[in-house]
Subunit: 422 residues, 2 copies
């Protein structure tokens, strides 16, 4: 388990009497922090300025969360740009959160959701422009993907579980384990696509290959799976050989833009976040020309209720070039190519569960993570996982599975009952 | 049954040998028609010019459909604007279609879908601008709705069946009757919304009241249902009294923009087509402020794979002011108000079935329709129903059910299995 006051449980401050206001007294830093809290709607958070012993909290509210700031420079950076600099300061240990980090991040996301409600369309457009993600050219995508997915398969194996599936799982029951839920997700996707043994399937962005191997082994279809992460492709090819599936699944180390040929099924789980909105039109054209006339497809992606940039710290430190589209933005894939959307399911609460499972395993394996990376990285990754739980729990992020087919395909089951076999 | 060659079954022309081209010979009208057919990709349709005895058909193709044109003026109008003028000429009996009208309309829609594939974005935008629907101001909506829905309850009763539901039904099995499918649709909607006896429900655009009465009688909730069609509201109030539900269901003769108060559930089935895109943003704001914090809603609407005007003849003669949005356009309701879309189901093939049931009943009751309206109206209505079957069967139109909730609502079932009780 990690060190630091954030894992010491409820602190001695938690039960203290309401804190006197520091709005009129205190140092300049304390007063600016107070003002920031006021702008954010006075959330029940108390800040402890370790160098001066000052405490800053909204007036007349019993704080639910307690955050230590280690030095003046960190405070200045937090006040200047809390959204971007909180993550770096936390990673560096200059900010320490007492108690449950996920609970704290839930509060933070609720606070920013309220601020967002009050912001104007112009403010939102400005934020979107300021925080536009890195471009996903062919070379840019390779670099963006390498920076996240090539951290080492051993690191991911510490906390992803046996399937090595690094996307939202699907919990048929709340009590399902991570492995059960990842397998159920793959089954859910295959059922939605009605994959059978005579189908040819192309997968765009196959991660460590679990879905492609599942499609071949459980549903009998042939699969060509694309990925530009060298480490993931090598891992996937090894697994295919171990499972004797190398004749049924071909792993291609190439960008999705290299897909050619025609298939009965197009599937992409957790790649769209890295495609970039500027490429949606061409992705749709590629999907359309890759499908047979009765072809169908599924795109599974993190999304949003409405267009907004990814959290700037996440885009900078965790997922360079990434973007979570709203449904209207996702439709820029399908609409220009006249693809028929059959079904959209939002399973955001499943991603919150998945992330809680990942975070639990990460904390259990954190000492092994420390042998691979420095403490700043270890803390950064914890914040990323805990913050992501909160983002899905507060409805800041959504998870959309979109099923589609060609306009002319009438071979569509009348109801969706077939997705729910008993 | 109606008169005219379209109901005489296969004609003497159907088995004739390929028609010699009239591209180089023939009258000017025949040559222009030939050119039009060529521009449309040479569909297998033969035109018979009744005044001259000429036959016009694509070269070297055995025609599948045979269409009579009665006079030169009609031919000129068809060539000038086939999309708009075909419907009027058909209604007036100046165009007669041999054989199955629905089959013919399927061919026509497939032809125009292909033309659409080849048209540029600029051409599509131009078409959209030229065919923009009438505005739906408060007074405009009242007039637009009056023109369609106040044709007389007796007329609609001829072919809508007992439920008087004038929206897409839901066929749990292909063999379901119209009444079964309309009841199943109401159950499907109520299940998706998880309506229970303690819920308050507001319905925007309630037609003849069947859904509101169903919600109250089968699910026990209280309902306020809005409609601006005077005839429909009177019918609905009578039914409520007959069923003893007048204390549970309030029918309000008012525009949806008059909705006030807060409800657990917002539902609207088949009204969005009449709202007008210019009002989507405000509809979303109205929905948001009408919902409690755990509130949920469903909007059921005819839609499109991508933005396009309604068929110009339908918008002019049948549904003034109507528009069928694409999903990205529908999202302009939900996204600005930060509503979370949970589920979208496309049930277009159900609307094709529903319309086939309506058309069958319409033809059975056509002699009664003739006692209410003139032959032009009777033919117009047949074309509208048959053309609508074809529009849904060819994927020209879609039918979307969108389930949504507030951003902050986490009381969401993990899976959609509850929608499919057995």
């Amino acid at each position: 388990m990690s060190a630091g006051p954030e894992h010491m449980g409820p602190s001695i401050h938690s039960d203290s009497t309401p804190i006197p206001s520091s709005a009129t007294g205190g140092t300049l830093g304390a007063r600016l922090l107070q003002r920031l809290l006021s702008r954010l709607g006075n959330p029940p958070i108390e800040f402890l300025l370790d160098w001066s012993g000052e405490r800053v909290a909204p007036q007349g509210i019993r704080p639910e969360q307690h955050v230590h700031i280690s030095d003046r420079r960190t405070l200045r950076r937090l006040i200047a740009n809390p959204q971007l600099n909180f993550g770096d300061a936390y990673s560096a240990g200059q900010v320490q959160v007492e108690g449950d980090l996920t609970k704290f991040m839930n509060l933070v996301y609720r606070v920013f959701a309220e601020v967002d409600v009050k912001s104007s369309i112009a403010q939102r457009l400005l934020a979107q422009w300021l925080h536009r993600p890195r471009r996903n050219t062919l070379a840019g995508s390779r670099d963006n993907i390498h920076r996240h997915y090539d951290l080492g398969n051993e690191f991911y194996a510490l906390w992803l579980g046996d399937t090595m599936a690094y996307t939202c799982a699907y919990y048929p029951q709340a009590a399902a384990s991570l492995e059960q839920a990842q397998t159920a997700k793959m089954d859910h996707v295959c059922r939605k696509l009605r994959i059978g043994p005579t189908d040819s399937v192309v997968e765009a962005g196959c991660g460590w290959g679990s879905l492609a191997l599942h499609i071949a082994s459980r549903f009998g279809a042939k699969v060509r799976a694309f990925n530009i992460s060298k480490e993931q492709i090598e891992f996937a090819r090894d697994r295919a050989r171990q499972l004797g599936l190398q004749d049924r699944v071909e792993f291609v180390e190439d960008d999705y833009r290299g897909i050619s040929g025609r298939y009965d099924v197009f599937v992409s789980v957790g790649m769209l976040e890295h495609v970039g909105r500027e490429n949606y039109l061409r992705l749709g054209q590629l999907v359309r020309r890759s499908l047979t006339s009765q072809g169908r497809g599924l795109i599974h992606s993190i999304g949003r209720n409405r267009p907004a940039p990814l959290h700037p710290w996440i885009e900078r430190r965790i997922f360079p070039g990434a973007y979570a589209p709203s449904i209207s933005e996702m439709m820029q894939i399908f609409e220009p190519s006249n693809l028929s959307v059959l079904d959209i399911e939002n399973i955001r609460l499943h991603y919150a569960r998945t992330l809680r499972h990942w975070l639990e395993r990460y904390e259990r394996a954190v000492d092994q993570a420390r042998t691979m990376f420095d403490e700043t990285f270890v803390r950064m990754w914890r914040l990323y996982l805990a913050g992501s739980v909160a983002a899905f729990e507060t409805g800041t992020l959504q998870l959309f599975q979109v099923v589609f087919t060609t306009r002319e395909n009438n071979e569509i089951p009348l109801t969706r009952e077939f997705m729910y076999p008993r």
